[in-house]
């Protein structure tokens, strides 16, 4: 423990003399500004205008000349009778915003016999030939070429497109309705029409979905009635001719109703679902929309078919806004910007998903200040902010940066001496130097061992050698792909094999449990739901789940050695036997990677092959998952959030940044310190928390530093450090009782064996066989503990603590206020704070009581409890 206690000396290994005198005064003058000023030498390219100057940032420009008029699409081929295509007209306004001018445009055709066009740009084919669509707008004439063929025959009917399209558009196959795992009301559909063949069977033949069998169960109630098509439940339910839990989905005689009726009348064929016409991918225009409140845009959704053709699906898809208060979207695909913020429009058809990223800006800025970035992170973040007309906050003060970076890299507050030194340091590279010192400190290894112990599931059943392996790996800066490989493919009884052990029982984990954990940890994917059924919201299937599980099937524990081995069949503990059986198909499953491909060879240790596949440079998930987790450490949330829930429906807030970070991480040789250094050096990370009129509402674009509550362990260690009183952690009786050695920090504990009221009240995760879940929300119990709990009350008053030492050393009230501020908040008090607090101490019943109350006030403050 001693090196931890010796933090005061050892942490940053600063050899320079402490220039207390000079520094003591400096921050009192103007803590933030001076330091930000000095910093300009590091980053000479500061914003031309002060971004926090509200007059500057808030000025509005009247819309002026439009430019870059476009008619979209500019060229299109239509096939079949009645085929149609929507067109939109867009232009860029004087402030760089793309605006939709479709409804202001006048459309006409070069040949009215071949097609017709409505006032809002919907063109319908009449007969074969080629023509031009013209759009007149603001004196400009735009043209698009339309090629029409095959109008002699109707487009062949297809269940997959036409009927499933009705299901999708009306929400029938959403996860809460018939697309749920078990369907609804005895009628099951595949989620968002991902599997039309199965949908056909459920619709035409009926039957009840069974989770554990591929066979449908009784009763078999077909949803179609070929004798009396109008009596089909498929029509009567959604039209509410029969009671329907899902309510009325469409009117009788609506277009959707007629589509279904016509299909049943024709004998409910599967029809043309086959090759060629299947939808391979959806595309949408625009991919991204930056809008002002009150404006509208029309979305164009195009299906790319297997035969290379494309087709306008805009009127036939399901549109959903992730935040209808910010952006809403009509069933026809017209989005409306309601208030500043961001939202995604998810568009679903034929089991496919495409998303539009929408930003609603508060007010366009006429002059956007130049904000100089330091590295590629800043380029990505600041480009996005510029698009959204949000001006980032200025650079953080030195003291704010110091506290933040110490907490994020080492989980430890800097002691007052180090704060003074850092503030006094005149080296223009002092922030970079600090980052290096922290990356090489023992506290860095302690803190990241704690982080990884959480993430890798270190529990009392496996703690000791496992945790040493993590610590050793981090201390040596082992490339992260090596860590992953050692863990996934490990055999024997060394540290990295210990994750095969269950948290509570100490049993060996079952293959599917282990697989689920490894995939979540290393690929950021939650496959667990697919154990029993295809993933309810995403494309993960039960087959993928069991295919990847099969890599773990041969694993055996040799009890006498507590060792794990592959390829020894029939040994003592092998929960599933050497074979992994698919629970629905009841067939043995061969190992398959998540993409469905099998390993080139089998035999030996199959998890080596799995580890190869996972860590391969072309596996996008592996690097993205870890850079996202590390990012979350520095910003409070991941670019993908939750950090272990990568899936198409939950895209990253900054996809390009995520990829750039992952690429940089791969190129660095999977170097965790390099990644952290890159993040910590970025201006994005070093922004202040200051508000300006443009970033006030922003919580996802990194336009300023947002406060993050300290985690239970970090908070308790910080309280111990500020009060100067170590926590004595009790050890649970069932592992022998007693207490942890003096000086043990909360971040070193194994939760199960060290019950702690404080840590539990502040949300330390305890249930360790499932996903670690940290609760950062405030609670009544925290409020109670803060007011009267022993952690605060007795530590502050304890003999030998910081308060007592300051008093007995004869420090003045002013010195005490400053010293406690440095210890708790890593800054000097402002002049106002100093005056006010000195007065409060003087007015207290006793001086000691006053100083104790001051210490409590600091520890209870938001500034202390949060990293900001």
């Amino acid at each position: 423990m001693s090196h931890r206690l010796a933090f005061l000396m050892g942490m940053l290994d600063w050899k320079r003399p402490v220039r207390v005198l000079v520094l003591g005064l400096l921050p009192i003058l103007v803590p933030g500004h001076l330091e930000a000023e000095k910093d300009r030498r590091v980053a000479p390219a500061e914003p031309a205008a002060n971004p926090n100057d509200s007059a500057e940032a808030g000025r509005i420009l009247a819309p002026d000349g439009l430019r870059d008029f476009r008619l979209v699409p500019s060229q299109v081929g239509l096939r079949g009778k009645g085929a149609s295509q929507s067109f939109v007209v867009v232009a860029t306004d004087g402030r760089g915003l793309e605006v939709d001018l479709t409804s202001e445009s006048r459309f006409d055709l070069t040949n009215d016999r071949l097609a017709q066009v409505t006032a809002d740009g919907l063109l319908t084919a009449r007969s074969d030939g080629e023509l031009q669509l013209r759009a007149d707008i603001a004196g400009q004439q735009l043209t698009a070429t339309v090629h029409i063929e095959g109008t002699g025959r109707a487009r062949p009917f297809g269940f997959a497109r036409d009927v499933v399209g009705v299901f999708t558009r009306n929400g029938c196959n959403g996860s809460e309705c018939h697309g749920g795992v078990k369907g609804r009301g005895g009628f099951k559909l595949s989620l968002h029409g991902i599997n039309p063949r199965e949908d056909y069977r459920w619709t035409v033949k009926g039957g009840v979905y069974q989770v554990l069998s591929p066979k449908a169960a009784e009763p078999f109630n077909p949803r179609v009635d070929l004798e009396e098509p109008q009596q089909s439940r498929l029509l009567q339910k959604p039209a509410m001719d029969l009671p329907h839990g899902g309510g009325q989905r469409f009117e009788r005689d609506s277009a959707d109703y007629r589509t279904l009726l016509e299909w049943i009348r024709q004998g409910a064929p599967y029809g043309a679902g086959g090759s060629g016409s299947r939808v391979q991918r959806l595309e949408v225009f625009p991919r991204e929309a930056i809008m002002e409140p009150g404006t509208r845009r029309r979305l164009l959704v195009t299906a790319l078919l297997e035969d290379g053709r494309s087709q306008d699906l805009s009127p036939e898809v399901l549109y959903e806004s992730s935040d209808p208060a910010v952006i809403d979207v009509s069933p026809a695909g017209v989005v409306r910007a309601l208030k500043p913020g961001q939202a995604r429009i998810a568009i679903r058809a034929a089991g496919k998903l495409v998303q539009v990223r929408c930003g609603v800006i508060r007010q366009p800025l006429d002059r956007y200040p130049r904000v100089a970035g330091r590295n590629f992170i800043d380029e990505e973040v600041f480009d996005r902010l510029r698009e959204l007309h949000i001006v980032p906050a200025g650079l953080s003060s030195d003291s704010a940066f110091l506290r933040r970076v110490c907490l994020d890299l080492t989980g430890t507050l800097p002691p007052p001496e180090r704060v003074r030194e850092f503030l006094a340091d005149r080296d223009p590279l002092k922030r970079e130097n600090l980052i290096e010192r922290l990356l090489n400190s023992p506290e860095f290894v302690d803190y990241w061992t704690f982080r990884f112990a959480d993430f890798f599931r270190v529990v009392y059943r496996n703690a000791y050698s496992y945790k040493s392996w993590i610590r050793e790996s981090l201390a040596r800066n082992k490339p992260y792909d090596h860590m992953a490989r050692e863990r996934v493919a490990s055999q024997g009884n060394g540290g990295p094999t210990r994750h095969f052990i269950k948290s509570i029982s100490g049993e060996m984990m079952r293959p599917h449990e282990k697989m689920g954990e490894d995939v979540r940890v290393f690929l950021g994917i939650r496959l667990d739901c697919a154990q029993c059924h295809d993933h309810p919201y995403e494309t993960w299937t039960q087959d993928q789940f069991w295919g990847i599980t099969a890599f773990y099937g041969q694993l055996t524990r040799i009890r006498s050695l507590s060792a794990f081995m592959d390829d020894i069949s029939g040994n003592e503990e092998q929960p599933e036997g050497p074979k992994v059986t698919h629970p629905r198909r009841r067939q043995e499953v061969a190992p398959r990677f998540l993409d469905g491909s099998p390993p080139a060879t089998l035999g030996g240790n199959p998890r080596e092959k799995l580890a190869d596949w996972m860590t391969a440079p072309d596996n996008p998930y592996f690097s993205q998952a870890i850079v996202n987790r590390v990012w979350a450490n520095f910003f409070g949330k991941g670019l993908v959030e939750p950090v272990d829930d990568f899936r198409p429906g939950n895209p990253a807030s900054h996809p390009e940044l995520l990829e750039a970070l992952a690429e940089d991480f791969r190129r660095s040789g999977f170097d965790l310190r390099h990644l952290m250094r890159t993040i910590a050096r970025s201006r994005t990370y070093q922004l202040s928390g200051d508000l300006n009129p443009t970033n006030r509402e922003d919580e996802i674009n990194h336009s300023r530093a947002l406060p993050r509550r300290l985690e239970a362990e970090i908070l308790l260690d910080a309280i111990s450090r500020v009060t100067g009183i170590e926590e004595a952690f009790a050890v649970h009786e069932y592992v022998g009782g007693g207490t942890e050695p003096r000086g043990t920090r909360a971040i070193e504990l194994v939760p199960e064996v060290t019950p702690s009221q404080f840590l539990e009240v502040y949300g330390r995760p305890v249930s360790r066989d499932s996903m670690p879940w940290r609760d950062y929300r405030s609670t009544l119990r925290q409020a109670l503990h803060l007011l009267v709990g022993s952690t605060y009350t007795s530590k502050i008053a304890a003999e030998g603590g910081r308060v007592g030492q300051l008093l007995s050393a004869g420090a003045s009230d002013r010195e005490i206020v400053r010293e406690l501020y440095l210890a708790a908040l890593s800054r000097f008090p402002t002049a106002e704070e100093e005056t006010r607090l000195q007065a409060l101490i003087e007015g207290s019943p006793s001086r000691r009581k006053g100083v104790e109350n001051l210490a409590w006030g600091l520890l209870a403050s938001r500034q202390f409890t949060y990293n900001h």
């Binding site: 949330k637 829930d645 006030g857």
Partner: protein, 444 residues
């Protein structure tokens, strides 16, 4: 990671969930959804409104044929009770005298056969799942009814004695609902040293001290407060005010103070861990708690793999008979019986036949529990087991049905669904195969 609950969209009725915008998970738009909502059966809101629930947790799983579903092959005779035609084991003569207040369910059917999993199942209605967490009954009731009279809504007394409470923790906690709906866990109140952590001012601190401290806090945090409007800060302020009210309220302090009870009452409940815990539970619901998990049997007490009959006769049954009947009498005397649901159960039943050690093993297929008070019809039996007490012969009752019954008694919309942070809908009364449980209409 740090989203307030309302942004996660969880624990709201579905209608509100949609309003906050997680539509994509549902495949519906708001208009469509509202139509769906209107078509679902109206939530059955009972006129009766129980205010609180006491769960006597019979940890380990009591044997149904030796308690509430007597069979000829039990060592214990069946005795008549105050309710016509209802017979229970002779081990519970005093409870028999209260059978007019109690209902028996003899056809419970559950799905887990081991203690941690069975406990999880019985208290959440869900099997444990590595990917999902489920809120406990007490957490759900606390959230739906909210706190009363400044008391914490959900309390567990005494703390458990398991060697690894962690494996049981998920059964009692609030999952994604948030820790304000976790139980506050109290130590054993029958001990001399019994003290309640953080719910009253310590001797070293006066109300004036707290006021002084808060003026320091204000001076420190003023600037930061003006700048930062983090959503969580408002919550913390609300909790701080609530905490101050609690700490300064003599009523809250008194609620936990068993010394206010007469020796006679303490004797009546029994001066044991079980008796005093149940007495404290009564004080707590009287003062305003919503849900108290109590009883205080030692770990695995009812887990009679060995010497089932002897353990029941000598220890388990007499304590339960005394404590439960005293509780019912006490609640009635105080006019609390109509507003307090009392439920006594374990995590499963036991095999109807003795094993080689004269014990009975775990048995979830068919078992019994009793409940009463809070407007629940007494003197009734729901369901029946077969001759052996081995299978449900009549009216299978699931955990979801039981939960729905209690919700209905408490005026909670039992048809409600929560949506967890991953977007999965969960019935608060979840029955086997994720269907919605139905209240036992015979009882509520």
């Amino acid at each position: 990671m740090d989203l307030p609950i309302d942004q996660l969209g969880c624990c709201r009725p579905r209608r509100e969930f949609l309003r906050v915008g997680a539509l994509s998970l549902l495949g519906l738009n708001l208009r469509q959804y509202l139509a769906l909502e209107a078509a679902t059966p109206a939530a059955a809101r009972s006129k009766q409104r129980a205010q609180a629930c006491i769960l006597l947790w019979l940890e380990g799983g009591p044997s149904q044929i030796d308690t509430w579903d007597p069979k000829p092959h039990s060592q214990f005779n069946a005795i008549p009770t105050r309710a016509d035609g209802i017979r229970i084991s002779e081990l519970f003569p005093r409870v028999a005298g209260h059978m007019d207040k109690l209902a028996i369910v003899r056809s419970m059917h559950t799905e887990e056969n081991n203690h941690p999993q069975g406990t999880h199942y019985a208290l959440t209605g869900h099997r444990p799942n590595p990917a999902l967490k489920f809120p406990s009954l007490g957490s759900i009731i606390s959230r739906e009814l909210g706190p009363r009279n400044n008391l914490p809504p959900y309390i567990m007394v005494p703390e458990h004695q398991e060697t690894d409470f962690f494996s049981y923790m998920d059964a009692y906690t609030s999952a994604f609902l948030g820790s304000e709906y976790d139980p506050i866990i109290l130590p054993d109140p029958s001990q001399e040293s019994f003290q309640i952590p953080d719910l009253s001012l310590p001797d070293t601190l006066t109300a004036a001290d707290i006021a002084d401290r808060r003026s320091f806090l204000q001076a420190v945090d003023r600037g930061f407060r003006q700048k930062e409007k983090h959503a969580e800060f408002g919550r913390m302020d609300r909790f701080t005010n609530q905490a101050l009210t609690m700490l300064l309220s003599p009523k809250v302090k008194q609620a936990f103070d068993l010394s206010q009870e007469s020796d006679r009452t303490k004797e009546a409940y029994g001066r044991t861990r079980v008796g005093q815990s149940v007495l404290l539970a009564r004080r707590l619901v009287e003062a305003g708690c919503r849900f108290v998990t109590t009883s205080g049997y030692a770990h695995g007490a009812w887990d009679t793999h060995k010497d089932n009959d002897q353990r029941l006769r000598d220890k388990l049954a007499p304590t339960l008979d005394q404590t439960l009947s005293t509780l019912l009498e006490d609640l009635q005397q105080r006019g609390l019986l109509d507003s307090t649901v009392v439920l006594a159960m374990g995590e499963f039943g036991r095999t109807p036949h003795l094993n080689a050690n004269n014990g009975r093993d775990h048995y979830p297929d068919c078992w019994s529990l009793i409940l009463g008070g809070g407007g629940i019809q007494g003197g009734r039996v729901v369901g029946a087991s077969d001759e052996q007490g081995a299978q449900v012969a009549e009216r299978r009752v699931t955990m979801g049905d039981l939960f729905a019954t209690i919700y209905k008694a408490m005026g909670i919309d039992w048809t409600k669904e929560y949506v967890n942070p991953g977007g999965r809908p969960l019935y608060i009364a979840n029955s086997i195969d994720d269907v919605m449980g139905q209240p036992l209409h015979e009882l509520v």
